[in-house]
């Protein structure tokens, strides 16, 4: 009874993901010391919010994302989804990785349908669903292609479709556009924002690029270099469609740059 009450209390309306003072330290191989990667990070992500975590190369932001994904267990503190502690990965969260992590032996449609296959959805049904999301990311006609035949931007589109196709509440994106050239990157940022406007999900997006953070995010949380701490956060109230060269955009970008001393 008491347990139930606590669970209900813990669930603040609108809060989807909650990190409560989480810390993470790794053993340094061959040495008798710990590397502190996350230091008492507290964070809330609201339902259907696009939250960007911005931090320099070594700031533990990927580790934070993996904690929420359930791939890593924090050393201290608790991560919760809908008020319930995270115990492992689950289909309520979909991940997009920087290095795509597509399965090279599967065609585009079977990559996209992977999550559904894992859950035992019948072949016809899952391929139909996969095709819907392949269309959404603009890859119609490439259903039968193998990842090796695609460009980096196309691979990341497949990866986004794969995450969406599993119908998660939450999308976790780990520097998804970090490996793309500048032109493709701009195009993918715009496309992601468009897709998200159509199919709203709670998004947690990790990047080290200030411009990308401001372009995409409803809110940007800035993390420090190791050990990763939450330094500050910004609400981005520039209305969509945003423009990289808009005066308001540039002003905000300068402010964030100055504040965070991140040099681009």
């Amino acid at each position: 009874m008491l347990q139930d009450n606590q669970n209900q209390d813990a669930r603040t309306p609108g809060i989807k993901i909650e990190c409560d003072n989480i810390s993470k330290a790794f053993h340094v191989p061959g040495q008798d010391r710990l590397l502190h990667v996350l230091d008492r990070v507290s964070l809330q992500v609201y339902e259907n919010e696009f939250l960007v975590i911005l931090g320099p190369g070594q700031s533990g932001k990927t580790v934070l994302l993996n904690c929420i994904a359930g791939l890593i267990e924090p050393s201290a503190g608790e991560t919760r989804i809908n008020g319930r502690p995270i115990t492992g990965p689950g289909p309520d969260r979909g991940m997009v990785f920087q290095r795509y992590a597509l399965f090279p032996w599967k065609t585009v449609e079977h990559n996209v349908a992977f999550g559904l296959a894992v859950r035992g959805v019948p072949l016809k049904e899952r391929l139909a669903k996969a095709r819907h999301y392949i269309k959404m990311v603009g890859l119609e006609g490439f259903e039968r292609a193998y990842p090796a035949q695609l460009s980096g931007g196309m691979k990341q589109r497949v990866s986004i479709a794969r995450a969406y196709a599993n119908d998660p509440d939450i999308l976790l994106m780990d520097e998804p556009f970090g490996a793309l050239d500048a032109q493709t990157r701009y195009a993918m940022e715009q496309e992601l924002r468009t897709i998200w406007e159509k199919e709203r999900r709670t998004v947690l997006f990790v990047t080290n690029n200030i411009e990308e953070a401001i372009y995409l995010g409803d809110r940007v949380v800035v993390m420090s270099a190791l050990p990763g701490r939450v330094k500050t956060e910004y609400a981005i109230d520039i209305p969509a469609p945003r423009n990289y060269t808009d005066p308001a955009f540039l002003a905000l970008r300068k402010k964030v740059s100055d504040d965070t001393e991140l040099v681009l």
């Binding site: 032996w105 992977f114 894992v118 193998y146 090796a148």
Partner: protein
């Protein structure tokens, strides 16, 4: 353009083999036929052997015996080595138990097993198949094991993030991810089995391509020895080519890369 490329891909190997035979012919003209028979003499000997009775068995019969030993050993090696190697690379406990034993057995060349194999299994088929099996098995385990160890952990993470359980991670992600090294292992295992069968057949066999070579030596017929050696080369490369075709069929995503 494509046609000329295809043409070149046929002309180049034909030319290189042609030059090799030519050099062989030139050298054989300058030494005695006992030392190095000419290519023509070897071809003549091969044609003669096609219809001859070599120690009670025809030429095709000898090839058949060798192939039978190799294929039995090869399939046994895959059947046992592949799952063991894959599981060794997947499961830490299995790795800790099996790999020390394996590390000690691995450097022992298959030929070194001949005496003990004969002691255990006699001079009949058993020992010959066993020796081929040892050679192929070690290679199969090694390739499956290293393939599994080098599966990109990111792919496993991706599978986990979609809620795949341990079994699904193994069969749906890890095993297909190491298909290229499994295939490299299968190919090497088959060539190893083929090499081992000849060694095994040189010790107390009455049939097999290895027996042809030994017979050639006993009868002091260098051309016959060379026929045996050329046969080994041709059959070995045919076996390898067959497996390459099988890989193309079974790993279509790699075919697209070429």
């Amino acid at each position: 353009m494509i046609l000329s490329k295809r043409g070149a891909s046929l002309i180049a190997p034909a030319a290189s083999i042609g030059v090799f035979i030519l050099l062989w012919g030139i050298i054989s003209l300058n030494v005695s036929a006992e030392f190095l028979p000419s290519p023509l003499a070897v071809v003549k000997e091969a044609l003669r052997l096609l219809h001859a009775n070599i120690g009670g068995t025809s030429l095709w019969g000898h090839i058949g015996w060798s192939l039978r030993r190799v294929l039995i050993a090869f399939f046994l090696a895959i059947l046992l080595g592949l799952p063991l190697g894959l599981y060794m690379g997947w499961n830490r406990v299995c790795e800790k138990i099996v790999s020390p034993i394996f590390e000690v057995l691995r450097p022992i060349p298959p030929i070194a097993w001949i005496p003990i194999a004969i002691l255990w299994l006699g001079v009949a088929e058993g020992s010959k198949i066993f020796i081929c099996f040892v050679g192929a098995f070690v290679i199969m385990i090694l390739n499956a094991y290293t393939g599994m160890r080098y599966v990109d952990p990111l792919l496993i993470d991706a599978a986990k993030s979609f809620g795949a359980n341990r079994t699904q991670q193994f069969f749906n992600v890890a095993v297909p991810a190491c298909m290229p090294s499994i295939f490299a292992g299968v190919q090497n295992a088959l060539s190893m089995a083929w090499m081992c069968v000849l060694a095994a057949e040189m010790v107390g066999a009455r049939q097999g391509v290895g027996f042809i070579i030994i017979q050639g030596m006993d009868l002091n017929k260098p051309a016959m020895i060379l026929v045996g050696m050329v046969l080994i080369g041709i059959i070995g490369s045919l076996l390898a080519a067959t497996l390459r075709q099988a890989e193309k069929l079974l790993c279509p995503w790699r075919r697209e890369l070429v």
